[in-house]
């Protein structure tokens, strides 16, 4: 079984090898969309439902791709084992929220324009990242992991503390909402469709009216249209982040990062100020994590429950699937993780519920009631127990753990980690004197 999976993965990654990055990503996208369209059809969704499914897959894939890209810069390229991803995400989201939510909401914000809020959130995450990196500069791998994890917990507990639920600075009142969380500004995509994008009750603009009308006619409701438009915008953001990090990686800067990962002493002996590079990498990576988190939560609620260490582990699993060290792999890993591992189990649950008649209220509430009927060869109660909402969530995490162990034992390079992404701004194989090889 394990050997078969391994062969499968090797085959997939071998197949990937022959393709250009663009072709690869396209094939992946088409494959995932086809899969989820199929699943939606099996579930009997109408067009609106199908679009909504694809929207959700796209949205989550894009967010995870961004997070994984940022972590890949730190871990894949530079070898910095940052287990504080969730904390830096929280800094981004909460800073944005406190800057841009209206002073009239509870908890109040400063009511600054959203672009300022987003920029402020990203900068805050970058700065906090830079500060957090200072202790990190002196610590070896596993200590760094523990310190960054502790750091992210300090951040989370601080945002959760009743002390900052609402507070005032220089006469302005602000707040994190403590354990209840804070509601964030509305999604900026609404600017496209609504007269007053910040009002939840605002009527659509003329353009919005037209678009909504058209899609309503084919069964796609306004919120789905809005969400789909946002997901498409996110794809462009991912493309931007990808391009940025590719440039960072394929440059003399990226070369030094790789050297730090391989042997920091050598990098130092060759004249590179490794500490400075590490601080920059922390700042840039954490800033991008903040950005990804802002784009993830905007228009919804910021809650400390979203920034527990498990979120960090999700990003790590996604990076390991794709292959640490490869930017293309990061995007692949983010998408595969988000759609198959994160969302997949829910769809499995729905499909099973569709085809197995469990009966309302027949779901066993304890493992005994589920396992007992096995004696009379009745598997339905166990199945019902297994696919109940809470248990699917639990099993999903078990699966995640198993996947993590499997990958690190059998395929630590992931799908694409073995690919060389040469760290130079020019094609190195081009030899002087036209002696091209």
């Amino acid at each position: 079984m394990s050997a078969r999976v391994d062969d499968g993965m090797a085959a997939v990654s071998e197949w990937f090898d022959g393709r250009s990055d663009a072709a690869l990503l396209l094939v992946l996208a088409v494959g995932l969309y086809a899969l989820f369209t199929g699943v939606s059809l099996v579930l009997g969704y109408d067009l609106g439902g199908i679009v909504n499914t694809l929207r959700r897959i796209t949205f989550l894939s894009a967010i995870y791709a961004m997070l994984v890209l940022a972590l890949n810069l730190q871990w894949g390229y530079t070898g910095l084992f940052n287990l504080g991803v969730a904390g830096f995400m929280a800094v981004g989201v909460y800073t944005m929220g406190m800057l841009s939510t209206a002073p009239t909401t509870n908890p109040p914000g400063l009511g600054l324009p959203l672009p300022i809020g987003i920029l402020g959130g990203v900068i805050a995450a970058a700065l906090v990242g830079a500060v957090a990196s200072l202790p990190a500069l002196r610590l070896r791998g596993d200590y760094l992991a523990i310190v960054t994890l502790a750091f992210s917990e300090i951040v989370r507990l601080t945002y959760r503390s009743p002390v900052f639920e609402t507070f005032s600075v220089a006469g302005l009142s602000l707040g994190t909402g403590g354990s209840t969380g804070m509601s964030l500004p509305t999604n900026p995509i609404r600017i496209l469709f609504y007269e007053n994008s910040q009002e939840v009750t605002s009527p659509p603009s003329a353009f919005g009216e037209a678009v909504f009308g058209t899609f309503e006619a084919i069964g796609v409701r306004a919120p789905v249209v809005e969400g789909t438009a946002y997901a498409i915008v996110l794809l462009f953001v991912v493309a931007g982040v990808y391009a940025l990090l590719r440039r960072v990686g394929n440059s003399p800067f990226g070369r030094v990062l790789k050297a730090i990962r391989e042997d920091e002493t050598v990098a130092g002996a060759l004249g590179k100020d490794t500490r400075l590079f590490k601080v920059k990498v922390f700042a840039l990576g954490c800033g991008l994590m903040g950005l990804a988190a802002i784009l993830w939560r905007i228009g919804g609620l910021a809650s400390t429950a979203d920034f527990r260490p498990i979120t960090t582990f999700y990003v790590f699993v996604a990076l390991i699937i794709g292959g640490a060290g490869s930017n293309t792999g990061s995007v692949v890993g983010g998408a595969v993780f988000a759609s198959l591992l994160f969302e997949g189990p829910n769809f499995v649950r729905r499909v099973v519920t569709q085809y197995v008649d469990i009966g309302i209220g027949q779901t066993p509430s304890t493992i005994f009631e589920a396992v007992g009927p096995l004696a009379s060869l009745d598997v339905t109660p166990l199945l019902a127990y297994t696919i109940s909402d809470v248990n699917v969530s639990a099993l999903r995490l078990v699966l995640l753990g198993v996947v993590l162990i499997y990958l690190i034992q059998n395929r630590p390079e992931g799908l694409l980690g073995h690919r060389t992404e040469t760290a130079a701004s020019v094609d190195l194989s081009e030899r002087p004197g036209g002696e091209d090889r």
Partner: protein
Amino acid sequence: MATDTETNTLVAFVRERAVLIALGLFVALLVADLFRKLGTGALTAASLAGFVKDGTVLGLSLGLAGIGLAMTYSILNFANFAHGDYITVGGVVGWITAFLVTGLGSFEAQPLVLLRASSRTLGISVTTAPVAIFLGLVVSVVVTAGLALLIDRIVFRPMRGQRGIALLIASVGVALAVRYLLVFTLQTGPRGLTAGQATPSWDLPVGGGSVTITAHEATLAVLAVALMIGTHVLLRYTTFGTAMRAMADNEDLAQVSGIPTERVIRTTWLLGAGLTGAAGFLIALERGALTMSFGWQLLLLVFAAVILGGIGSVYGAMVGGLVIGLASRLSLVWLPESFIIAAAFVVMIVMLLVRPQGLLGGVTTV
């Protein structure tokens, strides 16, 4: 030139210890403020004593839970993120045992196994059900040790010799799988374990007020100290202990000199995880309740204790545990309750910066 060199060394001396000196001043300031608060009556002697007692109990819990982590850390050279869930497993299986021993016959079996039976009606405490608690302790040790061996066999053994980070990642996988299998079988939600009304307690007068010590706190403290001393004696005076220390120093050398490394690793897991299971059971006893993630929530604090003490040092884990426990509870003198965990983490981070080798690091005390 000569004087130059001297000033240089002096400057370097001060610069190297600047953080340490600043830290010393900060601590001195806190102590002074503590006395001021006591003097002005802003803080009563009784509540201070209460903090110290809570801190000591927490510290002993962390120290006991940390020994196993310290042992495997020094032998296998990786930070085991599944350690917290071994604590949980110890607590869960130990308490299922205690529930069954106490309740079987007069209660239905299923709620007992699921830890859903009412702790009030069961009425377990060290005085009312000492046998159940003793058996629970034994089972928690045995099962946790067995589980750790099994997981070592499946997960860590095939990875011997790999980098610490790879093992760390695998241990995160183990942590997730173990914790959520528990959730899958037993479901989430806190479980009450002991009966408060059946637990004796003593009020010790301090200053104008008093500090209450429960029998379960006392049990935890006594057993924790006993187990730590026992472990120390075992590691100091047996061939296993010597072999383990040799491996912690230099595994290759140990192997060349004929120490059966695999056997030492196995024994380390057995002993370390057994202690961890006991810690889980006793911590749950002292708290009177558990959840399926209580070990995971303790994990970072346990790491803090182990790191503070110097990785791989058993005494270190004890001392580190006490420092972390006391620091987090005493922080209540200055900070609101929501910051006590954060305060402990800050202590750990500062410690790592100032003395990465730990309080007792540099000398392998075991």
